[in-house]
């Protein structure tokens, strides 16, 4: 399955001198959010990370499905 992952601010990934903020990840069926963090080598402490799955705050154990939209956001308090 393919999941759309939006990487925010300091979690953007560098590739060929450009910052990548949208990744389409191919994952095994039933993969969890924890596996996504591992694949993307995201080490930000969980209390500083907001994981938003299809608009809802999600847990690490949440199961992913084909076509899901995921935002990985270093937490901010507002503007």
């Amino acid at each position: 399955m393919v999941v759309e992952v939006h990487l925010h601010t300091i979690l953007q990934q560098s590739s060929d001198g450009k910052m990548i903020r949208l990744v389409n990840l191919t994952l095994p069926s039933g993969a969890s959010l924890a596996e996504v963090l591992s694949m993307l080598e995201i080490s930000l402490p969980l209390d500083s990370l907001l994981i938003v799955l299809n608009g809802h705050l999600a847990e690490l154990s949440s199961e992913l499905h084909e076509g899901d939209t995921l935002h990985l956001i270093p937490a901010l308090s507002g503007g």
């Binding site: 939006h6 925010h8 601010t9 300091i10 953007q12 910052m19 903020r21 930000l44 402490p45 500083s48 907001l50 938003v52 608009g55 809802h56 705050l57 935002h71 956001i73 270093p74 937490a75 901010l76 308090s77 507002g78 503007g79």
Partner: protein, 577 residues
Amino acid sequence: MVESKNLTNGGSMVWRVNVHNQTWKIDPLPDTWQKLGGRALIARILVDEVPGMCEPLGSYNKLVFTPGLLVGHMLSSCDRISVGGKSPLTGGVKEANAGGTTGLQMAFLGIRALIIEDKPTKKGWWIVHLSKEGVRFDTADELAGKGVYELAPILLEHYGDKVALALIGIGGEMQLATAGIQNLDKDKIPSRIAARGGLGAVLGSKGIKAIVIDAQGCPKPPIAYPEAFKIAQKAFTKALMDHPQTAVYRDYGTAAMARMCDGFGALPTRNFSVGHFEHVDKISGETLRETILERDGVGTPSHACMPGCTIRCSNNYADKSGQSIVSPLEYETIGLMGSNLGIGDLDIIGQMNREVNDLGLDSIDIGAALGVAAEAGLMEFGDGPAALKLISEIRNGTPLGRILGMGASVTGKVLGIEHVPAVKGQAMSAYEPRAIKGTGVTYATSPQGADHTSGLTIRAKVDHLDPKGQADLSRTIQINMAGYDTLGACIFAGNGFASAPEAIRDLLNARYGWDVGSDILQVLGKASLKLEREFNRLAGFTSGDDRLPEWMTREPLAPLNAIFDVAEEDLDGIYNW
């Protein structure tokens, strides 16, 4: 008159300026004001001295400037000035605060509260000059009609570049209900605005074009226990610097909220009709940073608005030739003048921001008014030049411009639009309350009207779409925010204080020789909210005013199809603590 050697008195004096007689006096703080500053002191003064039912632009309203309790020591992110009075926008209590240098210089002059009273007997414009010699009125008729970007250098040339300024633009002169009061940042740019609620109109109603604050020759504000203060300051600064959010704000600024809000389906788009903007990437903090860095010139993605701030979340946004368009370009403006108008172009948004800054207007309420105007057909969503043309109507003082300048609520009433995103007459900030329901509770119940700085809940790890528990969350954050506004602390200083919670107690006890407890932030916050509620009650507010617009309770917001469904009893119980 008071001799100059007695003016400062340990930062505990009340300066009263009467614009009717052009007289002034300096008094000690009354006992009940001693442990208040900033937002809470404004509420105290309004309850004590301003009739609740008075006309906001009339002679009985007072305009108050008060540095927060921790202002004056270059404590990182803690030198904000609070400005307040009865709001011509909401008809209720109003406190708006700003960074820059006004708070610092007032604290050096020993001012805990500057209270501007009454109205002039005849038309004309004045500069009020504050210094260790006291107060002076200088005529300023020749400065009328000038925007703040032209006016500030003239004043700095005349009064010297060491002074701080609080000034109004044409919007304040016209007494528009969205007019704010601009203050200089540390680089002398007059863009740190106490924006919300029309306080610039109140200053304009008193015939004052600018206040010059000259603290040269004044001693630093006293500290009762300097060593203890230094220890607490060090703990706070370290906690702030170590906090993960500090680095994000430094590199991406508040604009980083654009994609975050969009991810929650909460980015106001096309007059709050949808929570996702298809061009969010173009107006994001990430694009803002990349654009600034790839352009030569004066642009910078990191900038401190106050001396001594270690977060540096501000910026200077330059055009392709490297010339500054505006400094700063912040998330709320990007949300209200970008996605809310369907505009996905930071250069256009920056130009709009500069224009409303120059007019001295609140970019949130003007952005919301333009969104309402777009729904009414006065411009197409996405048409940046048309939006700029509507702003020029305000500058030209046309009837349409004056309507827009009165804010989203008046604009909606005049144009017959139900979809007005406002509470108590004040436009919502750039967080859709149907998708971030705790913030919706804040918008509904804050005595200040819809305002994210009164209690934004988006950081909390809760299901923002579940109506249950949102009032409890909002209550906690509203109390803390009112506390920070009383200290003169930036909302982001709260990250440091959250990691070093004893620092607030220790700093206050060291600064003033007090013996306050660890709960002082909540004590101050509750005191502030209680007084604000009391002033609003005296001004005629009821629980019926503590509601979101009806349409938000019945029209689902795409893409999450959320309505605002927090129970009314939860809203009515918000101040039961």
